[in-house]
């Protein structure tokens, strides 16, 4: 079949979400740091919701061990996660603008990559890297809101994953329990619940400026 035109896709989203909501979401530029379990799923949710501009960063390639929870397919094993995500996001919205950075993020490159975003999602898995990213953003890019994830391993306890505003520009989603302490490790349902909290927080911030 012929793919829908950009206008048809936009009309569909606008009808579904209302023009007011669609325009607020469409005009945002959202950054995602880390395209693993959280980041790959957040990106897909935001693309489906109509975000038209994403900045994604990850230095890793898709591995067989990622398939249990990350938004990739077996045939993408070995591909850079940024390239693999772009393929899938463009299958949902061919007109989305994606700026890819296949680099390891550190305090020297984070401000340049994410400084122009409206909201940035922290989606790493190592706690010291989460802290490094969040501190760098809050120190170097004041005014950009950060939505971070902390604690989403195991199964059950769905309602223990929550969203809290912690600092003026920092929102934290998760249950605060380390993956080493949760039976089952990282599994798709709870990682997606947390990713859902994060993507939903992004949309609420775009619409209301708060959660």
């Amino acid at each position: 079949m012929t793919l829908p035109s950009k206008e048809e896709l936009e009309n569909s989203l606008s009808t579904r979400h209302s023009p007011k909501v669609h325009n607020a979401i469409k005009n945002a530029k959202i950054g995602i740091a880390g395209m693993g379990g959280l980041g790959s799923n957040i990106a897909m949710m935001l693309a489906r919701a109509g975000v038209s501009s994403l900045v994604i960063a990850d230095h890793d390639v898709v591995d067989i061990s990622n398939i249990n929870r990350q938004n990739y397919y077996l045939e993408q094993i070995g591909k850079a996660k940024t390239d693999a995500s772009e393929e899938l996001l463009k299958a949902v919205n061919p007109y989305i603008a994606i700026v890819k950075h296949c680099v390891k993020l550190d305090p020297s490159n984070i401000p340049g990559i994410f400084g122009g975003c409206d909201i940035v999602c922290e989606a790493f898995d190592v706690p010291s890297e989460k802290a490094m990213f969040i501190n760098t953003m809050l120190e170097e890019c004041p005014g950009i809101k950060i939505v971070a994830g902390s604690g989403m391993a195991g199964f059950g306890r769905s309602n223990e994953i929550r969203t809290e505003k912690l600092f003026a520009d920092l929102y934290l989603c998760g249950d605060g329990i380390d993956m080493e302490e949760a039976e089952g490790g990282l599994m798709s349902p709870r990682v997606n619940i947390c990713a859902g909290h994060m993507a939903n927080t992004v949309i609420a911030l775009l619409m209301k400026g708060d959660v």
């Binding site: 880390g34 693993g36 379990g37 959280l38 980041g39 989606a123 790493f124 898995d125 190592v126 706690p127 010291s128 989460k130 802290a131 490094m132 969040i134 501190n135 809050l138 120190e139 004041p142 971070a148 994830g149 902390s150 604690g151 989403m152 391993a153 912690l166 600092f167 003026a168 920092l170 934290l172 998760g174 605060g176 329990i177 380390d178 993956m179 080493e180 949760a182 990282l186 990682v191």
Partner: protein, 64 residues
């Protein structure tokens, strides 16, 4: 002073670095806000807290 919303009586001057350890956090896994402003990591060992301060410490755990 207030730490994460709870009262903590400060009997002698204390740096943010010491407070982080005292509250059971690891310094490389936190972000700290002092009176509503982010504290740069390079200042954890320098900034001295007083009883009028309000400190928020956020710790991060693994998984993503």
């Amino acid at each position: 002073m207030k730490v994460n919303g709870e009262h903590l009586e400060l009997v002698s001057p204390m740096t943010i670095e010491v407070l982080i350890l005292k509250k059971g956090y690891r310094q490389d896994r936190v972000a700290v806000e002092l009176n509503g402003r982010i504290v740069p990591r390079s200042e954890y060992g320098v900034v001295l807290l007083s009883n009028s301060d309000s400190v928020e410490i956020v710790g991060f755990v693994g998984g993503g």
